[in-house]
């Protein structure tokens, strides 16, 4: 049996941030991509417009990866020189990752659905693409806020 120390919790936090936020983005981009493919099947000239909207839900995955990178860097996983941290510190790091993990997962999926609706709108009214993007960006706000809280909670944890 391995010894349960802080590194395990910190690693779990990084995995959740990257994994869950990435899953949300993958689902969101997939949902928007399906709608976009339908539009392109009839009107290939709308590729650029639909791609803009499809890309929006991809940001949650980036936020999660950024958070995971910060954690991995702090605990020395990237350099290979793992820091010695106690379980409480490890838990602190893990909990600091949860806002972006959870909000990234749910908002990525929700944003995908909003963007799919925007893509369907753009199919009929290509001039309104900016409005479709604004609707998508409204969902994005909460992923950004979650990243901010994750970052603030994490940055001063002493390791």
């Amino acid at each position: 049996m391995f010894e349960l120390n802080g590194i395990v919790f910190a690693m779990l936090g990084a995995a959740l941030a990257s994994g869950l936020a990435g899953t949300g983005s993958a689902m969101g981009v997939g949902v928007a991509g399906e709608a976009a493919a339908g539009v392109i099947a009839e009107d290939p000239s709308k590729f650029g417009l639909t791609l803009l909207l499809q890309a929006l839900p991809g940001t949650q995955g980036i936020y999660g990866t950024l958070m995971a990178f910060l954690v991995l860097n702090k605990i020395g996983a990237i350099s290979g020189n793992f820091a010695t941290i106690d379980a409480a510190t490890g838990l602190l790091i893990m909990f600091s990752c949860l806002p972006i993990a959870i909000a990234g997962w749910t908002s990525g999926y929700a944003q995908g659905k909003t963007c799919a609706a925007g893509i369907c709108m753009v199919a009929k009214r290509p001039g309104e693409v900016a409005k479709g993007m604004v609707y998508g960006a409204m969902v994005e706000t909460y992923a950004v806020l979650a990243l901010l809280i994750s970052f603030l909670a994490f940055i001063n944890i002493p390791v």
Partner: protein, 334 residues
């Protein structure tokens, strides 16, 4: 619930995107005005080609121009129904199948065979014709097979070819309701219920005008609406004032229909009202970004479009004045 897995709105993303692109090409009220006011048939064809109609090889002088144009387009529309969900939207194609069944049976039983089959059904015309001819219904739905058998039986007993229409219409609505149940979508079930209500209200008012007995009318009313056939039969002899209150879920429709008929436009105004009433229901899907409602509304919008184009072309060919053509036109989806 049926054994089939209920489809979610997200299962219709791609087809919704595709249809939203196609909706741009639907014929609008402005297009209708252009078609009526166009100086010649070449211009009419040009306008229709801008809306996706295949005008290759057509001069505009063809006698059956509308039917050629609509039949070409209908095949593509049926393809969308197939892509939308592997039989999920067959119920919208059933009216074409049942029309073809009626034609096939009448061609066999009556002395004046007519080639008025229509494409765009869930079964190809050839398969359907062979199925009826050989009494082999494997390519048809169970309901279609039973409908043909019952229509034959009733015709053999009564010798009345109108009964073929009545029996097959009844089976058509039953088949549509069964297919709608399989999809388990409230919009679709609501549409089928509204369709049956409209058919029953039409039947009641028409049969009363023709002086038919309640016994005859009871054979005509269809199941599957917001009011049962028994209610319609019981209300058959009621006065216009009390008729709506006797029809339960179809009361409001009956009230509007009676108001329309007394408005001075007669039966043609009433027919127009019925079609527009259905279109009002379908328009609820206009603001659904994706989901089963999108292909459903498109398929129904296309059928209305075919009717409108046929009326415009027929009106132009017979030299009807523009206003008379416009009066007869159904409300469009866009």
């Amino acid at each position: 619930m049926s054994a089939a897995k209920k489809k979610k709105n997200l299962d219709f993303l791609m087809i919704s995107g595709r249809i939203k692109s196609k909706e741009v090409h639907l014929v609008s009220t402005q297009t209708v005005d252009k078609l009526i006011d166009a100086p010649d048939m070449a211009e009419v064809l040009k306008i229709l080609s801008e809306h996706g109609y295949d005008i290759s090889g057509l001069t505009g002088e063809e006698k059956n121009l509308a039917s050629i144009l609509c039949e070409r387009d209908r095949a593509e529309t049926a393809e969308i129904a197939t892509q939308a969900g592997n039989g999920l939207f067959d119920c919208f194609l059933y009216p074409n199948d049942y029309h073809n069944l009626k034609v096939a049976l009448k061609n066999e039983l009556l002395s004046d065979p007519r080639d008025i089959f229509t494409s765009g059904g869930s079964v190809s015309v050839e398969e359907l014709r062979d199925g009826v001819k050989n009494r082999d219904y494997r390519s048809l739905t169970d309901m279609m097979g039973s409908g043909v058998e019952e229509a034959l039986d009733v015709y053999n007993r009564t010798g009345n070819s109108q009964m073929i229409d009545i029996v097959l219409d009844r089976y058509c609505f039953k088949d549509m309701a069964k297919a709608a149940e399989k999809v388990d979508n409230e919009f679709l079930s609501g549409y089928v219920r509204t369709l049956v209500d409209v058919a029953n209200v039409k039947a009641l008012l028409r049969l009363r005008k023709m002086g038919k007995s309640p016994e005859f009318a009871s054979q005509v009313f269809f199941e599957g609406g917001n009011a049962t056939p028994e209610r319609f039969t019981a209300a058959y002899n009621a006065s216009n004032e009390e008729l709506p209150s006797l029809l339960g879920g179809a009361a409001s429709l009956m009230q509007k229909a009676l108001a329309e008929m007394s408005g001075g436009n007669g039966m043609s105004g009433f027919e127009l009202f019925c079609d527009n009433y259905l279109m009002d229901y379908i328009r609820n899907a206009k603001y659904v970004p994706y989901g089963a409602e999108v292909p459903m509304a498109y398929l129904l919008a296309k059928e209305t479009e075919y009717k409108v184009i046929s009326m415009i072309l027929a009106g132009r060919q017979t030299g009807l004045p523009a206003n008379s053509i416009k009066e007869r036109l159904r409300a469009l989806y866009v």
